[in-house]
Amino acid sequence: MHIMEGFLPLYWAVFWWIIALPCLVFGIYQLKKVLEADREALPLLGVTGGFIFILSSLKLPSVTGSCSHPTGTGLSTICFGPWITSVICAIVLLFQSLFLAHGGLSVLGANIVSMGIVGPLAGYGVYRALRDSRVNMYLTVFLVCAFADLFTYFTTSLELALAYPAEVGGIASSFILFMSIFAITQIPLAIVEAVVLTLVFKYIVQLKPDILLRLKIFPEQKIIAARSES
């Protein structure tokens, strides 16, 4: 989902930075609050952040004959919400722009907005809608992860389309063009990513259900039901 360094005009790069910065500041503030309230949240943060590191380093081949990254942001979105997820994404994206020439410092703002803000926000919307509903807990996790991944790529396409409207058809037609590169490639990746992260969530439920209960990530009866099932 990276926009490459130099591929956004300066004003768009600055624009996305202006959106990203307040979100990061709020994320750091929230992170401090969560960790002060409960030190046992730190290992959970390690697992969810660790998966963002692992998954976003993998470039997987897809049906379109090209490769793309999963994002891995779904778990962290469920456990800590979108803003703390933005902070973790910012760290990963900074690493990739400094050492891998994937993305870059000027487009970092745009990349944080797509992977760290809009993707997780979309996932968070799904989570809030389904958390207290009768939908199965694991299905909820699956949907959140898939949405967070797909919306990251929607956003990248939109960011590029806004900066580069096509001569014929303008923003809409270049959005479709970029979507054809990013979104179709991403659909199988999003499904595999979401299945894997759901499995990881199952292991968290089995090993450390008390932290999920304390952070009120899912209603108690859902977690108890999931534990008695397995």
Binding site: M4, G6, G50, I54, G65
Partner: protein
């Protein structure tokens, strides 16, 4: 009623399906290079603007890994950092659980 390893089975099916899909596409699309979607996005930008890709110069100076091997190595390093964090925490939780089992 629910089978204990239902999720594990589903995950294995999804991953195997993904591999099968890859083998299938790579066999029918002989011209597929499996380049990064990032790179394809960049060349689409060049196509729309009508400029050559080389004209897009970094706005901020950037270090790039000198070769694909080095890039792969740094990606592996990134995955390893994540893997260590995940493994460490699951081990920590496992140890905690052993000491004070959850009811």
């Amino acid at each position: 009623m629910a089978f204990r390893y239902r999720l594990e089975i589903l995950a294995i099916i999804a991953v195997l399906g993904f591999c099968a899909l890859f083998l299938y596409t790579s066999s029918i699309m002989t011209d597929a290079e499996f380049a990064g979607a990032d790179t394809l996005g960049s060349s689409k930008v060049a196509e729309i603007t009508g400029k050559a890709e080389e004209e897009f110069q970094p706005l901020v100076w950037q270090w790039a890994p000198p070769s694909g091997e080095i890039e792969a190595g740094i990606f592996a390093l990134q995955a390893a950092i994540g893997g260590i964090m995940v493994g460490w925490v699951f081990g920590y939780w496992k140890g905690q659980k052993k000491r004070e089992p959850i009811k």
